[in-house]
């Protein structure tokens, strides 16, 4: 079996956490190897992926080649959740199809227990993370403007905000009547050229693929890491981490080569950066006699406390054109309801939609039910007879999207399903997840607020996609390798190093103690930049 020359740092995963960490360390002269399970995607193919994602015939997971035996998993618990439509394995990771929304967590998110008697406190404060939030915003290129209800900040944003949409203006007066303040959506998207990358050119398919590169994705920093000497090995899924005889240090990451042969990478320090599901899975999979419940799992917390943000979309009709789908992202939101002053329900973010309904090309090509048209005797509709009406019905809506926090619950977890294996013969991750009363109450509150805004604006035929009892589930997964100072109740230290293994760190939303309602990527990047500084000092 091939064993590669030892590196200073072996990073497992080339999404935002891994790629930005690798770039930061490589820039400072460290020898970095990145092992990424998925491929390097050809920039040349982004337009093809755009079509695949925009057309209604294909599934979301097909766009980035997810869902095969490599990506097998088991979902247990409430509702359905197509994990592979919500993640990407490959250079850039899930940031290849994210919306780019980058709010900060709030100070209260870091001290939920001492402020509200809920969940646990993080072992670090907002104030300690704030300089890294600022750096993360510059690293990715976040556009936005300071506003009253965000996490506190002294400085502005690296990029100016995108102006409000015509659709925002249709709901603005209604919000003002209800005393609701709107503000720009902070977003890792270039409102003007930035950092050698062009500005957004308006393809409108942000959460499918950004063909122009105007939206940030972590392939940017993977390329930078390589420019500064890092080695990025793709199609290199890591099977397990191997310890030395003392059981206290990792010596090698065992991974698959291009022919499926077993290879080993040695390093002084290892960082697992595979996202909340796969990071926990790798630790569990690396169990030894000395670590029988999984590597670095003396606490039993690896995989536990999985949090996913639930959400709800409220839509309706106005008797006038609403100008949806001219841009692919929202431009106004409110964090006015972020904190807990209102009572038992918790934290939420509301955004006004610029993409209510369905994109015209998707509405035109989706696999509609034939039964209705056949019953109507309208055979021609199946070829194109009602095409204009069907598309038109989907493009004249207006809407608001809300997502809410979930509190940590140790029974929401990632474990190993030994009854099913992936293409490497490894047990697949099993995700067990349930909706809780706190989230339900917050979703009800969010739905009430959204409906009130739409009604005030004269919107009719109001309905929701997702409900408080059966919400949408977002792509945000957190909590499975939680941070803490007590090794009996946490997996990693405030510096993201595992308590049990001295040269092993985890950089992931898995380290979050609470979820807030903020989209996690900005916090992931802030924590990985902070880890880069710690490792740089430690490695010397």
């Amino acid at each position: 079996m091939a064993a590669h020359d030892p590196a200073d740092v072996c990073v497992i995963g080339a999404g935002p956490a891994g790629a930005i960490l690798a770039a930061s360390l490589a820039e400072r002269g460290h020898d970095v190897v990145v092992l990424e399970a998925g491929p390097r995607f050809d920039l040349d193919e982004r337009l093809e992926r755009l079509e695949r994602g925009l057309r209604g015939e294909h599934g979301s997971a097909d766009v980035w080649d997810m869902g095969g035996p490599r990506d097998a998993y088991t979902w247990s618990g409430d509702f359905e959740y197509n994990l592979n439509a919500h993640r990407i394995k490959g250079v850039g990771g899930t940031s290849l199809h994210w919306g780019g929304v980058t709010p900060r967590l709030h100070p209260e998110d870091f001290r939920m227990a001492s402020t509200y008697g809920l969940a646990d406190d993080w072992p670090i404060t907002y104030e300690e993370v704030a300089p890294y939030y600022r750096q993360a915003e510059r690293t990715m290129g976040v556009s936005g403007a300071r506003y009253q209800f965000s996490g506190p900040r002294a400085e502005g944003y690296p990029l100016p905000p995108f102006p409000p949409s015509y659709s925002d203006q249709l709901l603005e007066d209604a919000c003002a009547e209800l005393g609701i303040e709107l503000h720009p959506v902070p977003r890792a998207m270039n409102s003007e050229p930035y950092d050698g990358r062009n500005e957004c050119v308006g393809y409108g398919t942000c959460q499918i693929v950004c063909p122009s590169g105007g939206k940030y994705d972590a392939s940017v920093h993977a390329r930078r890491a390589e420019r500064d000497g890092a080695r990025v090995r793709t199609r290199a899924p890591v099977d397990r981490l191997v310890l030395d005889d003392s059981g206290e240090r990792v010596t090698e990451a065992v991974y698959a080569g291009p022919d499926g042969d077993e290879r080993r990478q040695r390093a002084r320090h290892f960082v697992v950066a595979c996202g909340a599901v796969e990071s926990a899975r790798l630790l569990l999979q690396s169990a030894t006699d000395g670590h029988p419940n999984g590597l670095a799992n003396s606490s039993g917390a690896v995989g536990r406390n999985l949090m996913i943000h639930p959400g709800i979309k409220t839509v309706g009709k106005l008797d006038q054109p609403t100008r949806q789908h001219l841009i692919g992202f929202s431009t106004r939101m409110t964090e006015q309801f972020y904190d807990h002053d209102q009572g038992p329900e918790g934290t939420m973010i509301l955004t006004l939609s610029n993409t209510a309904g369905t994109a015209p090309a998707t509405a035109a090509t989706r696999q509609t039910s034939h039964a209705k048209h056949l019953l109507d005797g309208n055979v021609d509709a199946l070829i194109g007879g009602r095409l204009a009406d069907e598309v038109d019905e989907e493009t004249g809506l207006v809407g608001i999207t809300a997502w809410v926090e979930q509190l940590p619950d140790p029974d929401n977890r990632v474990s190993l399903d030994e009854s099913k294996t992936d293409d490497r013969g490894n047990p697949v991750p099993e995700v067990t997840w349930r909706l809780d009363d706190h989230s339900r109450a917050t979703l009800r509150s969010a739905a009430r607020i959204c409906r009130a805004i739409l009604q005030e604006a004269g919107v009719t035929d109001i309905s929701t996609i997702g409900t408080p009892d059966h919400p949408l589930l977002l792509s945000h997964r957190m909590g499975t390798v939680r941070m803490g100072t007590d090794p009996d109740h946490s997996v990693v230290t405030p510096q993201l190093r595992t308590h049990d293994v001295s040269n092993l760190s985890v950089s992931s939303s898995g380290a979050f103690v609470t979820a807030g309602a903020a989209n996690p990527t900005l916090t992931i990047v802030a924590l990985t930049l902070r880890l880069a500084d710690h490792l740089h000092e430690r490695l010397g």
Binding site: E51, Y166, C200, Y203, R323, L326, A359, V379
Partner: protein, 167 residues
Amino acid sequence: MEITRREAIVGLAIAGVGVELVGDTDEQAQSLVATLLAAADVVAPPAVDVSESFVRGYVLGRARVDAEYERHIAEAASRLDAQAHREYQSTFASLTPSERRQVFRSLGVHLTHADPDGVLSQRIRYYVVNDLKYVLYSTPLGGRTVGVENPPGYPGGREAYQRGPTE
């Protein structure tokens, strides 16, 4: 980000700009364009005026950069013609709109879901019917008929999204 020739051609094709490429004036290409223009006539809504140059641009542009697409679209056009000959002793492009719809029905295209790797009717639905719908509504040609003059899939809209509707 560097735009490759491939992206440029596809972009032009999507934009409905007739791309002058070597070989696209030959008989085979002309026949293909005529067949697909005839298909567009029954698939596209009345408000959308699909021109020959638009069809030429998106079909030949895509065929030039995607060999698999070229093979499938040629096969689909050929099968539409074969069925037209069987039923009406004529080419598909020469039929009336009503007769063309009948050809689609005879091939089962109206009843099937689109699948690029499926049986013939599914492939025709994907590569002829749905392809046209996709190109129409991911470009201003179809988008503007539903008030979305810069639809998703088309680069543009940074100014338009801020503006109200124009009469």
